[in-house]
């Protein structure tokens, strides 16, 4: 069976209609005055899922988390957690812990005391607290800083304390609001994998907010792409990347080329879209037989080939253009090709060999080509 992209783990309760969601947002709206921060949003998250909320600044990600944690009440709609409607449940009685975007470390307590705070509150025995705190410190590599106060730490170290503090209680659901923003790349990648291991080992449900699509792709089982208080698409990283359901999602995640044209004909399960003079896209119809309509075809740069040779079937899923720009990035080379209608197309190719004979150069006439099923037809 063919499937989109690669699969991290065989975990997909959302495909099972009998599976019960662990967290449900049902038609949740949150208004601040007249401003609508979250707009009639419905979302299901499953037990043990690593779920990412991805979206531009101000689109309502933090607000969504804060409603789940109990700091904000939905203006309308309901939030169900483990079968219980959370309306009226105060934050301290929700089986949820949050790592705050601003860390919110207690400035009058040492790193140790910060991490132990929630455990003490639960009345855990002293020796167990000490053990758990030591374990958390080790996890975030802050053993040496146990007795420091937050103001004596760097931004990244503070972030790790906040992470340790929110994890210490092993909550059923951990909410992480941009947990890794202040870490350098190496530590960030390490922590990402550690978080993934931890989440699987402890069997927790994680909801993470991030700006960084790569981070979301790396860690999450599913991603919700949000804009202006609404969810645009909820799907696995591979589905989001390979089958975005809208122009917005296609554009938001990764690089994309979108060819706009008119649907001219459909036959044998294939659809023709006339993009321009001598350039037609022929792609499987899927479920969109819409003759005469204007449609976009989205295709990722790595799925476009660039060459000097005229491809067979020239003009179908291929077009001639002018090499406009070349960027050598080490692992791959990115070509920018300008089409006769003025549109520029981004194509990338992996540098599998160390040297290339007669490489493509600037201002050359080149052909770009792709497979008809390498891109997706957009609904909008």
């Amino acid at each position: 069976m063919k499937s989109l992209g690669s699969i991290r783990r065989s975990f997909a309760p959302w495909t099972d209609p009998s599976a019960k969601p662990y967290i449900s947002f049902r038609n949740v709206t949150k208004k601040f005055g007249t401003f609508v921060a979250v707009d009639d949003l419905s979302l299901d998250i499953y037990h043990r899922e690593f779920f990412a909320l991805l979206g531009a600044s101000g689109c309502g990600k933090s607000t969504l988390l804060r409603m789940l944690a109990g700091f904000e009440q939905p203006t309308s709609g309901e939030i169900i957690l483990d079968g219980v409607n959370m309306a009226g449940t105060p934050p301290y009685r929700r089986p949820v812990n949050m790592m705050f975007q601003s860390y919110a470390l207690f400035p009058h307590m040492t790193v140790e005391k910060n991490i132990a705070f929630g455990l003490k509150q639960d009345g855990m025995p002293k020796n167990e607290i000490a053990e758990r705190v030591a374990q958390m410190l080790k996890l975030v590599k802050l053993e040496k800083f146990a007795t420091r106060k937050p103001h004596q730490l760097s931004g990244g170290q503070r972030q790790r304390v906040a992470l340790a503090r929110s994890l210490a209680k092993r909550p059923k659901v951990l909410l992480l609001d941009e947990p890794l923003g202040a870490l350098d790349k190496k530590l960030r990648e390490e922590t990402q994998f550690e978080l993934m291991d931890l989440q699987q080992d402890l069997g927790l449900t994680f909801v993470i907010v991030t700006h960084d699509q790569e981070e979301a792709m790396t860690m999450a089982d599913r991603i919700a792409v949000m804009s202006a208080g609404k969810v645009n698409q909820v799907a696995t990283p591979a589905e989001i990347y390979e089958a975005p359901n809208s122009r917005f999602v296609a554009d938001f995640i990764g690089d994309v080329n979108i060819f706009d044209g008119l649907v001219t004909s459909s036959a044998n399960g294939m659809l023709d879209i006339a993009v321009g003079e001598g350039f037609t896209i022929r792609t499987p119809i899927g479920n969109m037989d819409v003759r005469g309509a204007a449609r976009g075809f989205a295709i990722r740069p790595e799925k476009i080939r660039v060459s000097r040779e005229v491809p067979p079937d020239a003009g179908i899923n291929s077009v001639k253009g002018e090499m406009w720009d070349i960027a050598y990035l080490g692992d791959m080379t990115v070509y920018i090709v300008k089409l006769p209608n003025g549109q520029t197309v981004k194509a990338s190719s992996l540098n599998a060999q160390r040297s290339v004979e007669n490489p493509l150069g600037y201002d050359e006439d080149v052909w770009i080509s792709f497979d008809g099923d390498a891109g997706v037809l957009l609904k909008d």
């Binding site: 944690a69 301290y92 949820v96 812990n97 601003s102 009058h108 705070f117 509150q121 209680k169």
Partner: protein, 301 residues
């Protein structure tokens, strides 16, 4: 040239406040200290020795040899002074504590209030300063006296059947101090509470605290600098307070401010009253200095 001007400016920035302190604090202190080491005399000024610059070096030596610590010795011999000091500190301490109990909820409510109305609330706290302190204390006489407003209201409401005797008791002094010094408590508390990051409370609640627990574990500890500042701002002037015990207190109200006033104006004994003032200063400054030293050490750790 610019650098020279800057250099002078930088030096002035340091010199001016120091000069201020030197002229308006240290010099008067030295004068009071010098008087406290003199003897009373029926003269003008009412103490000896008096130093005359014309007598030169010999005169200065003679002058210095006549100074003594007799007045301080005298203070230890009459138990009245010791009692007055202890009573002052006690009254000041408990009234400061009361001020804190009244002031904290006010400051807390102000810090929680919507941002837009906070300046108004702040104005209301400062508003009493626009009327003379003396007049406001007199007003309390009208409120507290046996036939005053308070008793009339309580009698009218049937809560009491005989007027309460509040005026000219220590209770009236407590009321007077709490009322008069409340803004000095509220302002530093407010500034400490207002700075507090609201997400810290959310974090505490998230980790299992109720609102009330979050207050005691996070809000209160973080407002301690404000509590200390407010406490000192009220306690120090309250200890030496004269007007309030004199107008509202009774004969049993023993406060060092009153004693000092009596020495100065009734007995015209400048040297002893100066000694009383110096000891009062030491009583206040030494513990506070020790406290701040300890605090600075704790901060440094």
């Amino acid at each position: 040239m610019v650098r020279l001007v800057n250099g002078i400016f930088n030096r002035l920035v340091i010199v001016i406040p120091f000069g201020w302190l030197l002229i308006f604090f240290l010099v008067p202190f030295v004068i009071v200290l010098r008087i406290s080491m003199s003897q009373t005399a029926i003269a003008m000024p009412p103490y000896t020795p008096v130093f005359d610059i014309a007598t030169g070096w010999e005169g200065l030596k003679d002058f210095l040899s006549q100074l003594s610590l007799d007045n301080f010795l005298y203070l230890t011999q009459d138990s009245l002074y010791l009692k007055a000091y202890i009573s002052s500190v006690t009254i000041a301490f408990f009234s400061t504590l009361l001020t804190l109990l009244v002031g904290y909820p006010i400051a807390y409510a102000m810090a929680q209030a919507p941002r837009t109305i906070r300046p108004t609330l702040l104005m209301l706290v400062i508003l009493p300063f626009w009327t003379s302190f003396l007049i406001r204390v007199y007003a309390w006489i009208a409120i507290l006296k046996p036939e005053g407003f308070l008793n009339q209201i309580l009698l009218y409401l049937g809560i009491i059947h005989e007027p309460l005797i509040i005026l000219n008791t220590n209770t009236a002094v407590y009321i007077g101090i709490v009322y008069s010094y409340l803004p000095f408590m509220v302002l530093p508390l407010y500034s400490a509470l207002e700075k507090l990051d609201g997400t810290l409370i959310e974090a505490a609640e998230d980790l299992g605290c109720t609102r009330f627990q979050a207050f005691w574990k996070v809000t209160f500890p973080l407002s301690l600098p404000g509590v200390v500042a407010g406490f000192l701002l009220v306690f120090i002037p309250a200890t030496g307070e004269f007007v309030i015990p004199d107008l509202l207190g009774g004969s049993e109200t023993l406060m060092i401010g009153k004693t000092l006033w009596a020495e100065f104006f009734s007995n015209r004994d400048w040297p002893v009253s100066s000694a009383v003032a110096i000891v009062l200063l030491l009583v206040l400054v030494i513990p506070i200095a020790l406290f701040q030293n300890a605090q600075a050490k704790a901060q440094g750790e």
